[in-house]
Subunit: 354 residues, 2 copies
């Protein structure tokens, strides 16, 4: 007996604690994922920007470092057709001039889950596969299931949660408005109608019969206990792990994040995502019509971001992050995971040794 009042997620996934270290592209590398698993969490590799061989290599490295279930996370957007991004590049032109760089050919963009990624899932055999932006085509989804993986996906509305359950996910991630990174909304709800976790979570719990994972604004034991009170069977935590020493973001950004407000913005990728507010967002506003659709906008932004960081202009663009950075304890990821679990269990009346 682990002491957790709801065992459904643990039975499904096999992790020690009902905590998912959220997938975070460019931040959650092998070291962070392995450290979270070592603490008893379900560790998540963000595979959206990895090639199939990188997925294989990084998963092998994680497994070499820590024993426990691993989650491979993929986006399942439709890749846009050729898109004229000249308005976007014109908007950013003053920044290219200011930083004295010329636009480069785009680096790797977030790619949708495809046959090559699916083949790699069949080879790696992760315990869990989580999707963002709905689910992949049925044929690919069937192959992932046949491979034995537990399937998770994010819902930002009750309608999305029902849609996912009907298509056979094993658990739904209820992603509240507070969450950092890309909102998983995929059924076209109006972004101005986004729902906070306090309202979304119990409504999703009431609407589906599969276990529900709470995401958004949870960064300490109080948040985990509160999520369980609202009916969650597990939590997904990103920003608190973003601030650990194992995370790959710059130390300067780890210092800045707890003091910064966050906002939903499309400047990073073209898709709406929550990020900490820096100068670019202040100057352009958080949402611009000029940005091409997800994930194309990132091609023109990434070289600028790299140059800003090279110059030490940490405030120009900050990482994607949720609303609770100020709550996060600054611990290594293994200790953080154990402390999150211990604090929550103590609050819920089942104290265990941390």
């Amino acid at each position: 007996m682990s002491g957790w009042p709801d065992q459904r997620f643990l039975d499904l996934v096999g992790s020690e604690h009902p905590i998912i270290q959220a997938p975070m592209a460019n931040a959650g590398g092998v070291e962070l994922v392995a450290a979270a698993i070592a603490g008893g969490a379900l560790g998540s590799l963000a595979c959206g920007i990895l090639s199939p061989s990188e997925i294989r290599d990084q998963a092998a490295q994680v497994r070499g470092r820590a024993k426990g279930p691993i989650n491979l996370n993929f986006f399942c957007h439709q890749m846009p057709e050729q898109f004229d991004d000249s308005a976007w590049r014109a908007l950013l032109e003053p920044y290219y001039r200011r930083f004295g760089i010329t636009p480069e050919p785009p680096g790797p963009l977030r790619l949708p889950f495809d046959a090559a990624a699916c083949a790699m899932v069949e080879q790696v055999k992760p315990e869990v596969v989580s999707f963002h932006y709905g689910l992949p085509p049925q044929e690919l989804l069937d192959r992932v299931k046949a491979n034995g993986a537990v399937i998770l996906s994010s819902a930002t509305t009750v309608a999305e949660a029902r849609w996912l359950e009907q298509r056979g996910v094993d658990a739904v991630i209820a992603q509240g408005f507070e969450a950092g990174g890309h909102t998983g909304r995929f059924l076209g709800s109006d972004p101005s109608q986004a729902v906070g976790l306090f309202a979304l979570l119990p409504q999703v719990v009431d609407a589906v019969s599969v276990p529900v994972i709470a995401a958004g604004g949870i960064a300490d034991g109080r948040g985990i206990a509160a999520a369980f009170a609202l009916g969650a069977s597990a939590v997904q935590i990103g920003t608190a792990y973003l601030l650990t020493p194992e995370s790959l973001i710059a130390p300067e950004h780890k210092e800045l994040l707890p003091g910064r407000p966050t906002v939903m913005t499309n400047l990073y990728s073209g898709g709406l995502a929550r990020a900490a507010v820096g100068r670019l967002i202040e100057e352009l506003g958080p949402v611009r019509d000029e940005a091409p659709p997800f994930p194309l906008a990132s091609a023109a932004i990434i070289p600028l971001w790299r140059e800003a960081q090279r110059r030490g202009e940490w405030d120009w663009l900050l990482p994607l992050a949720g609303q609770s950075a100020a709550l996060a304890e600054r611990l290594p990821a293994t200790q953080l995971t154990r402390k999150l679990a211990a604090d929550a269990l103590e609050m819920m009346g089942s104290p265990v040794d941390a």
Copy 2:
């Protein structure tokens, strides 16, 4: 011993349960406030649209019907100077034509807390006075305090919570993004940076030493238990009371609300407020620059809303409401209050008879 794990609010206010029936102009009249008090809540009269004599009469009626502490709620905005609202009226002109009515002179607008209201507070001697949009001028605040009232006000950011504590409020209402009605933001934070209750509440609890009341998206016992897990000493609940038989909104609106998304809009008053989405919001969009500042926009809207309701066009404009209408049990306000308390206490391990 009431069984509540945090007694600070109860000690301060003297209610049976740490539940505030939220003030709701045009919805929470004498009957609702008295019924909530009878169930053990702190009942709140929305005084922003009442004249001093109406405040006196309604408070007396509440006290004649129910024994328990009462809260008088006031706005403390600056009333705008003369404002040209011709762009606003031009925007609404097609609706005047459609409904076949002519613009009337404005009815009563929400008025800021002033000397006349303060004199009435001194006469009524409410146990609690709550403010929205900060606090009134120091001289008036001192008079309210000298009169023995517990002072509450709403914060939508940590900075606002600290500001209120420094000026001597007895408890801070942490108003999450999910909350229905007007957002209490008063220090000019960017509305796009609004914070969900899951993130806001523990950060406010950490920032101030006075008790914190959680508001936004709480509509059942789970939400109360979750708010206490995040550090709240009490909760403020609006939308669940809006759906009770005692609430003054139309029965048709009580049926529509649980199925509707909500959005932050300035169409009702000029100030940002969360409301259920109806046709006017769909047609104009939720936020229009043409709207004059709070509370002036309501003068041109109210006659249209009245006519829409007279014609049975319930979908044209829906009430202000929060994100959790679907969670609310449809009970009379006294039973609702008792059930909210009993459900929360049972979840928190202190069951009592409902």
